[in-house]
Symmetry: C2
Subunit: 208 residues, 2 copies
Amino acid sequence: MESSSTTAGGGRREATRQKLYEAAVTLIAEQGFSATTVDEIAERAGVAKGTVYYNFASKSVLFEELLRHGVGLLTASLREAAERTERDGGTKVDALDAMIRAGLAFINRYPAFTQLYVAELWRTNRAWQSTLMVVRQEAVAVVEGVLREGVANGELSDEIDVPLTAAALVGMVLVAALDWQAFQPERSLDDVHAALSRLLQGRVSGNR
Amino acid sequence: MESSSTTAGGGRREATRQKLYEAAVTLIAEQGFSATTVDEIAERAGVAKGTVYYNFASKSVLFEELLRHGVGLLTASLREAAERTERDGGTKVDALDAMIRAGLAFINRYPAFTQLYVAELWRTNRAWQSTLMVVRQEAVAVVEGVLREGVANGELSDEIDVPLTAAALVGMVLVAALDWQAFQPERSLDDVHAALSRLLQGRVSGNR
DNA sequence: ATTTTTGAACTGACTGGTCAGTGCAAAAAC
DNA sequence: GTTTTTGCACTGACCAGTCAGTTCAAAAAT
């Protein structure tokens, strides 16, 4: 996730876990959880297989902790964007816009993580389902919060359905960003942001 | 995918394939491709394992044909919605709105397929990657077509980025619908449609 | 200052189990 | 009589998880 350097003051342990996260996230994003072997993860991390099990109870525990770690970064980034806009005296729509940008920047930086998140989110019957739901709710809640405040202060229509609209916005960003990465990587973040911003502000219909 | 009835005049063969599609789509959506065994698929379809291999060359071929089959249904449904609106003298925005509804209806009917599609779409390095890209382009192209026509006739802003906006719209529908299924299944299709419609028409900001 | 001990971190060969795919003779369906 | 399905035994590859043993830096003993 991070650059390879150790987390401040960190022990050897933490550095190894970090390497394992990095290795696992790419491989699982590319191949899926079941198709990725622990041997592959260990090899890519430059570590023996035993080390994986020294650091994590099992393959799925490694994966769960990876999820928590990644979504933590995302929510922090969204929250920060919203608060920064607040401080600068922006409107709620400005805040949503800033969050869209923050979301895009995150996906641009950690495409593998996003891919993996989307692929696993709606799967039922899996060990980490509950982890994932909790973690998803955390992220969506940030968007819902801003929407609700916007409705409260009259800036947004009081007829909008907050949870559904939040989900739709998140989906819009997620899918547009993944498509950008996969199918038009030459486009700039600004391009993508502009297109989504336009959609958010309803400047799609109306010929200007 | 379909109800169990055979395709017109169809042989026994086709009926068996159909049963295998249905069994595979649910299992793979729940567990992922690698975690789903051929034995499970056969059992759920009420068929011997040998029959799977009599009808499909391999597990991944079965999956690829399943993908093609499902996306075929979706594009047909989107195209139909757009054309119906056209005939009824609706605007392009109306057509987009009708397509959103058609998309939601599709996902509502075949949630497992959608789930599986989303989970596999952005994976790289897989045998069926190319199949998937072709098939995705077909679906997105329908939306792009309507957007382009809207820009051409002045109904939509000529500043919109057609491919990005199309991807964003598809994503919005996809993610909102999956969230609806997974987290608020009690909501009606109309509710969800209304929320997305509002977003499309820019009636989110502006307090009326 | 030098030697010894400790223990956390790591290693990699090994095990027990799983699963895709095969082969084929006999039955059923058409 | 031809096509399709069945049932089932079998193979070979692969893989999650284990465990006895190694490494080494820092602490303790001398």
